[in-house]
Amino acid sequence: MKKKLVLAFLDIRVMLMIFLFIFSLFRIHPFLSKPNFVRVVYLDDKYFGNLAIDYKSLFLKEIIINGSISVNIKDRESFIYACNKYLKNNSIVKFIFLREVFPYFYEEVESGSIVINCSKLVEIIGIEDIPFSYITLGVDLTGGTRIILKPFEKISDRKLEEVIKTLKDRFDVFGLKSSRLFYIKSGDKVFIVVDVPGGSFYRIKNIISSQGKLEAKIKNDTVFTWKDIVFICTGDPHCEYVYQEGNYWVAEFEIEINKVAAKRLREIIDKYLSKGDYDLYLDIYIDGKKVTSLKIDEGILHERDIDKLTKAKITTKESSRDSVITRKKELQSIISTKPLPTRLIIESYEIVPPKVGKKIFREMLVSFLLGLIIVQSIIAIRYKNPKILILMFFTSLAEVVITLGLYSLGGWTLDLAGLIAIIAMVGMGVDDQITILEESLSRRKGLKEELSVGIKEALFIILVTYVILLGIYVVLVMSPELFLRSFAYTSIITSSIGFFITRYSFSRFIEAIFE
């Protein structure tokens, strides 16, 4: 039997299974204890240079402010705290990163000194708390918002790509860099899916539901549109301001228009001045709705230098500091990107608070572990053979680990539906192993050829089931309902890994044990 086992280990598919299992474990990269650093999700290349190219392998460990204050960044909260407490205007900051050179082995990397304040800091570097593993979990497991949009009218594939890019740009300007956008087609219908981990639905709703067509008018005369804007101030304290005015908070940011538009502004002002109308306002409209109205002061009314007419300010007023900053970011994100080629209608959405998402994830994890234990207990009671038990346990575990490894490698998102599919496979995947085992047990008293024939017949039965289920899953993958698509994708991956790799490997070991 030892010789047979060695030969089984040397089988190419068995070696592949073992290799994929170990590789997947490293890829999944579980953090079993909470580390004292955070993961970097974004670095602005203007400030970090080459480090920004490699940001995915970096972790932020520490920041040193003004050469003397050292703050260990063990989570997002400590980062925000350090930012608010220590970073004033023109603070000198140095970042100490850790670069992962081998799973769980790190080297320290320092950035150069950067002169910055707190509000700019959160724009040039994005961080997140170290997740349980490197698998990207869906918003239904981490908390956040998922929205499914439908274009108001039929659009071409090129315009669809434009919509996705514009929305992504808007989210980036708004500070939601970890958002995911993709589209799904169902027949002649197209749906755009927006996943924003940790994002608030109401903030996102304004960004996505606005087509973004900006017009500036003096009375009924159009002065400039979005096409004439050459610069929008975002994140620069020299051209954007937030201040309190009485009971309200005001946010302003500058925009710059081209000279053609500035000339048009001059002509329109002159037209009204010639009629004796000095009380002029520049009204800014987005999608036909007035967002702000700027009084044209004396200086502008009589300014003849066209270059000086290219700058304008967009102002917004709200009752609280947070809401005025949010509104400012919304306007900046909408104006700084091209208008959407079509309006988008919100078809469905899902909002999950982070605590709830984590609770759901824990429930699924417990269900998975308990399911695995109970299945293995049933196998143990039935077969009373430790070799079989170990083999079946490892095969089931390998299917799940390799599936998760593929998810991590592909950067795919594992959501609730995917987790349910994996849990279902724990029970249903064992069925194929039972088929192989029973065929082998019923023939082991016979010749080697009989055992092989038995295993071949078992694999045939497994093939029939696999093909039928694959057909069903392939159709489900084409449905517009995300839950079913995700469920089907994961089921296809797990059952294909099972059929092509793990169950064949299982049959080789069974052959070796029972020959």
Binding site: Y349, V352, I374, I378, A424, V430, I468, L469, M478
Partner: protein
């Protein structure tokens, strides 16, 4: 074991021609029970918001004031429904389902939740997407039935076994749907997805049955019982996972899928072994 052997002997040896009627009687019994409960057949199958569109709110550890507030708003309206469910982890959650026509009720409840500072999950389901999937699933069922019939016919070269398997699968699907309806679970995309999985699952057990009946030697009863024990073990392992999932999860989708699979696997077992297996056995014996 002796008791088990006696039961197996009773079913598969002495009365195997009579047990064919058990699944059919069971099917009609489930229909009658539902009819008695609901009065009209149209009331039995309700669509949930994943098909007809609507809103779902889930609040963890709701206070009695909140439950009363929801009760008051959902009272005497068919657009709103709610459940207070206790989980195995010791906490409670309130599930509120509002159809598209009850959007005002949804807004009222949501405003109350925001005002009181509750943490909750909320989702809006699209009717357009739901109906599109529903149509796709119905076509898929029909295609699956046709394909399975053709595959089995190709295997057996006889129409009777393929029809018996098809009928058994259809019985399984409707038994599951009626059982869920009796427990007041409406039809949702999750149920339909689970039923499709049961199709594929059912093919596996039918394949084992077919191989043991037609490709093995020895007494027919012995072959049947061997196949039965294998499939029984498989079904126990599958069902145990779904029972765990059903008991431990608080997520509606996971609960519905696992419950559908539990019913589907049980009915598949009954229909396959009391109906399909006996018909195929009679064909075999006639062939001798």
């Amino acid at each position: 074991m002796k008791l088990l052997d006696r039961i197996v002997d009773l079913i598969f040896v002495k009365n195997y021609k009579k047990v064919i009627f058990i699944p059919i009687v069971l099917f009609f019994l489930i229909i009658v029970i539902n009819f008695l409960k609901y009065g009209e057949i149209s009331e039995v199958f309700k669509e949930d918001i994943t098909i007809s569109g609507g809103f779902m709110i889930k609040v963890y550890n709701p206070s009695s004031e909140l439950i009363n507030f929801v009760k008051k708003n959902c009272y005497d309206t068919k657009y709103c429904d709610y459940n207070v469910i206790s989980s195995y982890y010791g906490d409670k959650y309130l599930e509120i389902i509002v159809t598209n026509k009850g959007e005002n009720i949804f807004k009222t409840i949501k405003e109350y939740l925001d005002k009181e500072g509750y943490k909750y999950t909320v989702s809006k389901k699209s009717e357009e997407i739901g109906r599109s999937i529903f149509k796709t699933m119905i076509y898929l069922f029909l295609i699956c039935v046709i394909i399975i019939t053709m595959i089995v016919y190709f295997f057996f070269r006889s129409i009777l076994p393929s029809l018996s398997i098809t009928l058994s699968t259809i019985l399984t699907v409707f038994d599951t749907l009626f059982s869920l309806a009796f427990l007041e679970y409406p039809i949702s995309i999750y149920v339909l997805g689970a039923l499709l999985m049961i199709f594929g699952y059912s093919v596996g057990s039918d394949a084992i049955l077919g191989v043991y009946l037609f490709k093995r030697f020895g007494r027919i009863e012995d072959r049947l019982i061997t196949a039965l024990k294998i499939v029984f073990l498989q079904e126990i392992t599958s069902i145990s996972v779904f029972i765990i999932l059903f008991l431990l999860t608080t997520e509606y989708a996971a609960k519905v899928i696992s419950l559908s699979m539990i019913f589907g696997i049980i009915y598949d077992f009954i229909n396959t072994w009391l109906f399909t297996a006996q018909i195929q056995r009679m064909i075999l014996e006639r062939g001798k």
